[in-house]
């Protein structure tokens, strides 16, 4: 599935709030077409890393490139879809229909002062149908269930036809059955529509059969590689994989090992 071209490349990235570093010496890349799970305990710097990738924060030292361009020069933000963790905690009384929320995903693509055309509305409709919410087109978003709302936010991210979709713990507050459907939908987007996925999650079990790559973060990049390698490592280090006690494999060391 994945190619050699890296959509995201991060080198020697450091970031700190006040005096404390939340990200230290991060080296990371994500191949085009991959489905990568970014895991790590609370406070491990996952959200900070996402904010840096999305250009919401600026790196204090190190380099981030997106689609082969330095992030400071990157302009095509519509290539990146983002579903935030907070999306679920929006004001449910907000008077907006599913159609209006999804259409807002086209804001950047259309550009300043441009208004939605017939084709754009058609695209909105197709996207809403694609996530299985066709019948709720004109419904206020607050009237939908948690799982359905999550789909609305996915549709909003997908409507601009992104090449990379970033999801920050999207299944928080979604029940078990809907989570399975949700992962299947992500799998379909990745396999059949060629969208590169970066999923921040606590639920490694739920996605382990879907993802192609894994990155474990705890301020430093503890593991970064293909899923098979991760599984092998998991077998070797059957306990303590998820957190502090994993022997720190340097990113470089590990990748070199993987290439052999």
């Amino acid at each position: 599935m994945s190619s050699n071209y890296s959509i995201i490349e991060i080198e020697r990235l450091y970031y700190r709030y006040d005096r404390e570093y939340v990200l230290e010496d991060i080296n990371f890349f994500q191949p085009e077409g991959s489905f990568l799970a970014l895991v790590g305990p609370n406070g491990s710097g996952k959200s900070t890393l996402l904010k840096l990738i999305l250009g919401l924060l600026r790196p204090q030292s190190g380099e981030i490139s997106i689609f082969g361009e330095k992030i400071s020069q990157f302009k095509n933000w519509e290539w990146i879809g983002f579903v935030s963790q907070k999306a679920n905690s929006f004001n449910t009384g907000f008077p907006a229909t599913v159609q209006e929320v999804v259409a807002s995903g086209l804001t950047k693509k259309l550009g300043l002062f441009k208004r939605m055309g017939k084709k754009d509305w058609q695209r909105v409709k197709e996207t809403i149908d694609a996530v299985g919410l066709g019948e709720f087109y004109h419904r206020n978003i607050g009237e939908l269930s948690g799982g359905q709302q999550q789909r609305v936010f996915i549709a909003r991210a997908l409507v601009s036809k992104p090449k990379l979709l970033i999801l920050d713990e999207p299944t928080v507050g979604v029940d078990a059955k809907n989570i399975r459907d949700f992962y299947s939908m992500l799998d379909d987007l990745n396999r059949n529509h060629g969208i590169t996925l970066l999923l921040v999650t606590h639920d490694m079990e739920g996605v382990s059969d879907k993802v192609t790559h894994v990155a474990c973060l705890n301020k430093k990049m503890i593991f970064h590689g293909k899923m098979e390698e991760f599984n092998k490592l998991k077998a070797d280090e059957s306990s303590h994989l998820y957190g502090y006690s994993l022997p720190i494999l340097s990113h470089k060391h590990h990748l070199e090992g993987a290439e052999k």
Partner: protein, 280 residues
């Protein structure tokens, strides 16, 4: 009343102004309410009072200012207040609502000082606080028309940006929108609308015209566009109805306009309850 409107320019001006603010106040009000910034309108209206008081004081000292409508100075103060609110919100990042009482009390404080220095302006003060049907002069009307054109054009041009900013600020940022600039433009528009609405509704009640029609509309509307349309209809009914009552019963229009808006709100709540019971 029709003869009155045809006969007297002041009445004509008031009704035209009423029709305009019945559109622009609820239009911006929708964005204010959904962004939970309702109190900003109150803070800015009190700053506008300071501007008007400043003008009245200056006009006692300098003949030049006597020829200028206080509305212009009020508008300048209102916009300056909006800019200051933004500055305070960035200084107190974790206590953003602090900006509102600071600006509000600062505006009243400054206004009271100007009023005292000018030895009061008793007759006018009531009109400024609660609105008046006879207060809109021709130059005021020109300014109000200009403000409304600017407001409607900007909202039309930046509609999708304002929507995304209101619904999900983080998403707006992640989409690469320059959130700060858009918010800045928005807050200046709010200041302009407050200045424009003030003569009819009065300083103390101007924020109600931005919030009450929206509060009613939000109960029954499907979607954002419909919320805007219903808010404008409710705003328009309140202003025109309020002005009519005010004219016939010789009451301050601010009061009659707000009471009609409250009545509409109660009606929509009752309708919603009734339709729920019917559905249930």
């Amino acid at each position: 009343m029709i003869e009155g409107i045809l006969q007297y320019e002041f009445l004509r001006n008031s009704f035209i102004t009423g029709m305009i603010i019945g559109v622009i106040a609820p239009l911006l009000g929708v964005f204010i309410v959904v962004r939970r910034l309702s109190l900003i309108a109150d803070a800015l209206s009190h700053v506008t009072l300071a501007g008007i008081a400043a003008n009245l004081l200056l006009s006692k000292q300098f003949a030049f200012f006597a020829g200028i409508s206080p509305l212009y100075m009020g508008t300048v103060f209102s916009v300056a207040g909006a800019l200051f609110i933004e500055k305070l919100r960035s200084v107190y990042k974790h206590f953003q609502e602090l900006a509102i009482p600071i600006i509000l009390s600062g505006g009243v404080g400054l206004g009271v000082i100007f009023i005292s220095l000018a030895d009061g302006f008793n007759t006018d003060l009531f009109g400024y606080l609660f609105g008046s049907v006879s207060a809109v002069g021709r130059t005021d009307l020109y300014l109000i028309i200009l403000i409304s054109i600017v407001v409607i054009m900007v909202v039309f041009a930046l509609y999708k940006e304002l929507f995304i900013l209101s619904f999900d600020e983080e998403h707006a940022r992640a989409s690469g929108l320059h959130v700060k600039s858009i918010h800045f433009v928005f807050i200046v528009l709010v200041a302009l609308v407050i200045a424009a609405s003030m003569r009819i509704v009065g300083i103390l009640l101007v924020s109600s015209l931005m919030t009450l029609p929206v509060a009613a509309s939000i109960r029954i509307a499907k979607g954002f566009k419909q919320t805007i349309i219903l808010s404008i209809i409710f705003g328009e009914v309140s202003v025109l109805g309020g002005l009519t009552f005010s004219y016939y019963l010789d009451l301050a229009p601010g009061g009659t306009i707000v009471m009609i808006a409250v009545l509409i709100l109660i009606l929509t709540m009752a309708v919603k309850k009734f339709s729920f019971q019917k559905a249930g």
